[in-house]
Symmetry: C2
Subunit: 306 residues, 2 copies
């Protein structure tokens, strides 16, 4: 179901309903989350991370992700992705019939401990089990490697370590690595060099870039990564997902900002930027989430500017 990686085709992986919403202080009811996903599909999104099977005590925004899954109409041309933190989460995801699974691990030992309460090597052991189950059941998977360009606890991250972890995960059977600039600290020359290395090593269909726009470098890093050969990008509608303690702070790279860039490069995403921007405006009005996307702020100001 994955889009062919012709030179100009770009796969946009929508993480707003999961990575976006889970970092907002507003908690959306199931009905609104389903509506958000339906709107994204109408705009052209084909890969959507629709929920997370973490314990609701830790991430109340993602509670009832099973209900979200159950309410979504199965579609041949859309991949609904489930974030799975551990074996228990995997069981829950399988219970609702999830066919596309996203796992995660950190390239920073300290962050991995803080986030998952275990070291990288233990995480890899559990991932091996989970990926074996996924493969045996014929399911599709991706694995986020986070903090690939820097970590708030460890500072610089050796990209060699990122490559080693990624190679291990691909050996274990995951279909795609998503390189996570979790705190938006990647610098263009670094992003260009490291993305080229990952694409050249693992192949263009097996690597994605997951950018955050924390310091305003998201679009620039997407540009240099695209020119380095990257053809799959994660983004969130409206750029939601900023820190809940800093309203208006940027979160994930905004889908509309990414689309505006890709349109300007004549890269074909199959998604309509104006539609995505309208969904962001709807989120702001209905769910009271501040939308940091510059592109949406521009497009919506134009609509009100008459």
């Amino acid at each position: 179901m994955s889009k062919e990686s012709t030179e100009s085709a770009v796969r946009v992986f929508e993480v707003g309903p999961r990575d976006g919403l889970q970092n907002e202080s507003e908690i959306l009811p199931v009905e609104q989350r389903v509506q958000l996903i339906e709107r994204l599909i109408a705009a052209g999104s084909k890969d959507i991370e629709v929920g997370s099977f973490v314990h609701p005590r830790w991430v109340p925004q993602m509670a009832a992700s099973d209900e979200v899954f159950q309410q979504l109409k199965p579609r041949d041309d859309v991949n609904y992705w489930a974030l799975v933190p551990n074996m228990r989460g995997l069981d829950r995801a399988l219970d609702v019939g999830a066919t596309h699974l996203a796992f995660f691990i950190s390239a920073s030992e300290t962050h991995n401990y803080k986030n998952l309460n275990r070291g990288i090597s233990e995480s890899l052991d559990e991932l091996r089990e989970m990926l074996t189950i996924a493969r045996d059941k014929g399911l599709t998977s991706r694995a986020y490697v986070s903090m690939v360009f820097g970590c708030p606890y460890e500072g610089d991250i050796d990209f060699g370590r990122v490559m080693d972890i990624s190679a291990t995960l691909i050996d274990m059977g995951t279909d795609m690595i998503s390189l996570g600039d979790t705190i938006g600290i990647g610098k263009p020359l670094q992003v260009r060099r490291d993305c080229k290395r990952a694409v050249d090593t693992f192949g263009v269909d097996h690597v994605a870039l997951h950018l955050h726009d924390t310091r305003g470098m998201g679009v620039t890093n997407a540009m240099v990564a695209y020119e380095a050969g990257m053809r799959c990008f994660d983004s969130s509608v409206g750029g939601i997902g900023g820190c809940p303690f800093a309203p208006g702070a940027a979160g994930n790279l905004g889908t509309e900002d990414l689309l505006y860039l890709m349109d300007s490069l004549d890269a074909d995403t199959g998604i309509d930027v104006a539609q995505i921007s309208k969904i962001a405006a709807w989120l702001e009005q209905e769910a009271h989430i501040t939308i940091p996307s510059r592109c949406t702020n521009y497009l919506q100001s134009q609509r009100n500017d008459i």
Copy 2:
């Protein structure tokens, strides 16, 4: 006084006190404008557009620019720039002893009419007179050519026309052309190609790029222009200068966003990004101007996040 264009030295031309403030609905008193400029100098700014000699009926934000000039301490290492729209404005600028003059013209015939009530050719005639006076008095000048990458009235702009107007202005004696992406519509491949052409033709010391971040492409366009050889960039502290009718809409490329990019490229600007960000926060608190700069929003959220 201009910084030598070694490979990594970048000249940052601060337009916040003029292009920024003149597009904000808040009108700052002279005292606050002078304070803003003094703070910019303390952060390392060497080229600052401090006011405009347009009629205050049209731009009340720039009223009393002569007082701003008179209150600024002369400094050998700082260029205070005056925006001059016409002969009457030139007289006023000369009266306060301005030594650095910025003129403007549009690459769009329609925009030139709307902005200056005359065609490009008539504007060039008046510019010839003004540039002759400036040269005779040994003053330094730059000329903005606006709408170089597109125009809200005419759509696409032939960059050949931009080159012709620029060549004419350089023949007339101006020291530098500033290529204005007035509505922030430039696309990276276009900006890369056209900036290379301008730098190759006029020389690196005679061209600047004046970006607006309307659609979130400011940093990306600065990146590709830098790699195409551009070494002078206009920007405004905080990214102020958005449309007065759309609060929060992006204005000029934010100085701190530009500096963050340049620092990441190991390009030397001589200006401190953290200081600029603090000035933006001060502007927000003291002058109630919404700061769109992503970099400042991040840096300031970190300061409040303890």
